[in-house]
């Protein structure tokens, strides 16, 4: 493989004949778990030997058949001049006059013995290339997934952010991509963009970026100036702050004490006692109520209670008739969704409070609740170290119980998205690749909608949160797969929406 290492005819023939195309068995976890037996040690050593041999195998290729590229460590891209073979139809991109390959593409081509990449004027070995190409912005796992998909024949491109609705509507997507990039830059936060678009942008180069940053700084400083100016204006404005959009008759600003309260029509404030209440004798008062009776006779109220110009006659109200009528119009509620718990009755029966007024009542109620917490019939459950999550007093509503149990966490998708958009969340899990089915008509410049999208995670990583999943599902409903790598094994998972049947209502 090294430059200048030219093989003689006989050596070449020898090389050619030894090539064994079979792939050695990979083996799973159990195969490597040493059990101390002689058989296994032997088998493992054979296994490692075959692998080592395979990796050490010299690969020969006609020098002229190799594509030669140059590694650019700043941009983390491989530049090359002359393309050969079919790969160019679905790999790499052009920036002005130069042709570029992403590191995964270059590495894949190197492994397939189609390319030679030089760095500092020296060609890289595959091992060196792994060292050089794989970094924080492009992880080994991503390369593994890339290879896995490529070997199965899929066309894999780096993930392209979706064009916005606006861009679609003015058909900007059909236009040169360069202009699209610039437009996006203005909308996005600069910090976010550095992380994200670095990976996926095609033609953005360091130079343009720095120019952009400079202009940003300029803008910032000028807006700072404006702000200070505005503030000084504001101070002047505040002096003659004329009041009131709407005044309130109950006191302009309730925050300040009762001093501010409107006292215009108070006649005998001093004699008035603080919230003195009376225990009304409702049996004297004759409040009409249609409960538990068939006919309600309504007397003519005493004139002194009536406003002027109201002269009623006696009458009666046919409750039975009324109930019959309303029953027809309003269907009786089919399901009464109040959950009844076994101790529900017990709780209810205990809360009989004898009090003569609200103050008394509230005090006694709080005492009872306190008591319940201390002496519940199941109080021995709270004596040990491990205690139940729910207390009998928590059983008030279904929502309260679920809240205490923390089974169902409410996620407000809209809210959370706006909250976290500036977070690192977006950067840590991102869609790495757009995957297309093998297709002869595939065009790099206009790839169309991908058939799949792939996020890459390791098996030791935390499973993605609901919010990140939601963020990864883009508007166009292309299925997103989560590629999980476990010791080199690749598995794809995807999430699907479904609604659970609701048996309890959160009252």
């Amino acid at each position: 493989m090294e430059e200048g290492n030219i093989l003689s005819g006989s050596e070449l023939l020898k090389q050619h004949s030894t090539v064994d195309h079979s792939v050695p068995v990979k083996g799973g976890h159990k195969d490597f778990d040493k059990d101390g037996s002689w058989m296994q040690t032997k088998r493992l050593s054979v296994f490692y030997d075959t692998h080592n041999d395979l990796l050490a195998e010299e690969r020969t290729e006609k020098y002229g058949n190799l594509v030669r590229g140059k590694w650019n460590p700043q941009l983390k891209l491989v530049e090359f001049e002359k393309e050969m073979g079919k790969f160019w139809s679905n790999m790499g991109f052009v920036d002005k006059h130069r042709k570029w390959l992403y590191p995964e593409e270059a590495l894949f081509l190197m492994e397939a013995n189609l390319m030679e990449v030089s760095f500092n004027e020296l060609p890289l070995s595959i091992q060196e290339a792994y060292n050089e190409f794989i970094s924080d912005s492009f992880k080994l796992e991503e390369y593994q997934i890339y290879c896995h998909l490529r070997r199965h024949g899929y066309l894999v491109r780096r993930h392209e952010p979706l064009p916005t609705d606006y861009e679609l509507s003015i058909k900007l997507t059909d236009h040169v991509k360069k202009s699209k990039r610039k437009r996006k830059k203005k909308v996005k936060e600069p910090k976010l963009e550095n992380g994200q678009t670095d990976d996926c942008s095609q033609n953005k180069l360091r130079k343009t970026e720095t120019v952009q940053n400079n202009s940003n700084n300029l803008e910032n400083s000028s807006s700072d100036m404006e702000q200070t100016l505005e503030e000084s204006c504001l101070n002047v404005d505040n002096c003659d702050n004329s009041e009131i959009v709407q005044t309130s008759s109950l006191g302009q600003n309730v925050k300040s004490d009762s001093k501010d309260c409107d006292v215009s029509n108070c006649s005998s404030t001093n004699t008035l006692q603080k919230s003195r209440t009376k225990n009304w004798n409702f049996s004297e008062l004759n409040f009409p109520s249609i409960a538990n009776c068939d006919q309600l006779v309504l007397d003519k109220p005493n004139d002194k209670f009536l406003p002027p110009n109201v002269t009623p006659q006696c009458g009666h109200f046919d409750v039975k008739n009324y109930l019959n009528q309303t029953k027809k119009s309003t269907p009786s509620s089919l399901f009464d969704t109040n959950l009844e718990f076994s101790q529900h009755e017990w709780l209810k029966s205990k809360t009989e409070i004898h009090a003569s007024n609200w103050k008394d009542f509230k005090q006694k109620q709080s005492e009872i609740v306190k008591n319940l917490q201390e002496h519940s019939p199941a109080s021995e459950l709270w004596k040990g170290e491990v205690t139940p999550v729910l207390r009998p007093t928590d059983v008030t509503t279904t929502a309260n119980i679920l809240n205490k149990l923390q089974i169902i966490k409410l996620i407000n998708e809209v809210d959370d998205e706006s909250e976290n958009s500036s977070d690192e969340n977006l950067n840590t899990t991102k869609i790495s690749f757009d995957v297309y089915l093998p297709n002869a008509q595939f065009k790099k410049s206009d790839p169309g909608r991908p058939n799949h999208r792939v996020c890459v995670t390791r098996s030791c990583d935390e499973p993605p949160s609901l919010i990140t999943i939601n963020q990864c599902y883009l508007k166009d409903k292309v299925p997103v797969h989560w590629a999980v790598i476990d010791n080199g094994d690749v598995a794809f998972y995807s999430f699907q929406h479904f609604s659970l049947p609701i048996d309890i209502s959160k009252g």
């Binding site: 309730v254 925050k255 008035l272 919230s275 109520s289 109220p301 109200f317 009252g507």
Partner: protein, 427 residues
């Protein structure tokens, strides 16, 4: 009872205890005039030979104790009167008896220098809770009382725009055309259309409203004796039922009126302390069930009315406000699991926190309350609001909003609280 169609409109002759009901359809106006006798609309008396104008969406019921003649005409359209009809079966006598009993309590309270009756009206949606409140307040006001009308129905509030809870002191009967809109209420910012969205905040505000009403009652004997009438929203199940009980406790009510829901009546009778009197009242046959969309329309109309007045009689101002001039908050942070919170803090605490909101395009068309608080360190959540503005345009480059406000610039205070509600200033 007779109908008579003349060139000018339709005449209705009402006998004593009849009720004429009509609904104004969209984009129509109805002009009503009482030519003979005596009549009232939800307890507010009609003046003879005065033309009352009702705009689209209005639902009107004219009741008469004496008999009267009403003339209805449609200035925009020629004669579609099928929506107007006369009903003989009304629960008005029952409501009047309820008022009489309340008045008895007021007289007694006056004599013995005590607190007047406090009544809460509960029931499912669309049974006429607000109407009953209005009737009871108006009758009381006609007798020279000044009851406080507390409206905690955040969805379809009568005292102020939706998304707030508030109270006003009813010193004279409501205007036939304009309801209570000419009085300036005390309002607290809630920000959502339903109490479900943030029950913790809702309960806190109710507690606060009750405190303020107590404060007012202590200052004025007339108010104290006249009592409080509380209107609730139609959420009566599960946590909504708990809310009703808590509200009754917060206001320390003497009386609960349940409209048209026997089950609720029985539950409240069982669960409320025995010194609270619970009565069950029938609903009126004239109650119209509103669809979800018509509720939305009603909310929108209420906000429009705030800025433009009924019949576009007001002229609101549009002006620019710099981002730096105002501080925007919303109440209630997203709920965090308890493991993420500092020690001793409950997840519920977050729901009543004020969270700063950065100016962005997402604020467009939202309604904002102008808080009476002077600085964010004051208890903004529990401070009343002065008024409302809508952000009608945002210029990110110039760093300023354009706001629609009822008064000219500048804003009276610089703390804005964001609502879920949105209002598009087009019509």
């Amino acid at each position: 009872m007779a109908e008579e169609v003349t060139g000018e409109g339709t005449k209705f002759d009402l006998k004593p205890n009849d009720e004429l009901r009509f609904e104004v359809e969209t984009k129509q106006t109805v002009v009503m005039e009482m030519t003979h006798g005596k009549g009232e609309v939800f307890g507010a008396e009609l003046a003879k030979n005065k033309k009352y104008k009702f705009n689209s969406g209005a639902k009107v019921a004219v009741y008469t104790w004496h008999g009267c003649q009403i003339k209805i005409s449609f200035p925009n359209l020629v004669g579609t009167t099928e929506v107007a009809y006369i009903s003989k079966e009304t629960p008005m006598l029952m409501y009047l008896n309820t008022h009489a009993a309340l008045e008895q309590m007021r007289l007694k309270a006056d004599e013995e220098n005590m607190r007047g009756p406090r009544a809460i009206i509960v029931g499912p949606t669309d049974v006429g809770k607000s109407t009953l409140c209005r009737i009871l307040c108006n009758y009381a006001a006609r007798l020279g009382r000044a009851p406080i009308f507390a409206d905690i129905d955040v969805g379809q509030g009568q005292t102020d725009i939706p998304g707030t809870i508030g109270a006003l002191s009813v010193e004279r009967p409501s205007d036939v055309e304009e309801d209570y809109s000419q009085l300036s209420p005390l309002s607290f910012h809630f920000g959502h259309k339903t109490p479900q969205t943030n029950t913790a905040l809702y309960e806190l505000l109710i507690q606060r409203l009750a405190e303020v009403i107590n404060m007012r009652s202590e200052k004025s004997k007339r108010t104290n004796v006249s009592g409080v009438i509380i209107n609730t929203c139609g959420w009566i199940r599960g946590a909504g039922y708990e809310l009703i009980k808590n509200t009754a406790g917060a206001f320390e009510v003497d009386l609960v009126m349940v409209i048209d829901q026997e089950r609720l009546f029985n539950e409240l009778k069982r669960d409320l302390p025995h010194f609270v009197h619970v009565v069950l009242l029938p609903k009126s046959g004239g109650v119209v069930e509103r669809s979800q969309s018509s509720r939305g329309e009603a909310r929108d109309a209420k906000i429009r009315e705030y800025f433009y007045g009924i019949d576009n009689s007001l002229y609101p101002h549009n002006f620019e406000v710099k981002f730096t001039d105002v501080k925007i908050f919303k109440i209630g942070a997203p709920v965090l699991p308890e493991s993420c919170l500092p020690l001793g803090m409950k997840a519920e605490d977050n729901k009543t926190k004020q969270v700063p909101v950065m100016p962005s395009m997402s604020l467009l068309h939202h309604v904002f309350s102008v808080s009476a608080a002077n600085s964010p360190e004051d208890n903004v959540v529990e401070t009343n609001v002065l008024g409302y503005v809508v952000i009608t345009a945002i210029d990110m480059e110039k760093q300023c909003f354009t706001v629609l406000a009822p008064s000219p610039r500048p804003l009276p205070k610089n703390i804005l609280l964001m609502m879920d509600l949105q209002f598009m200033d087009i019509k």
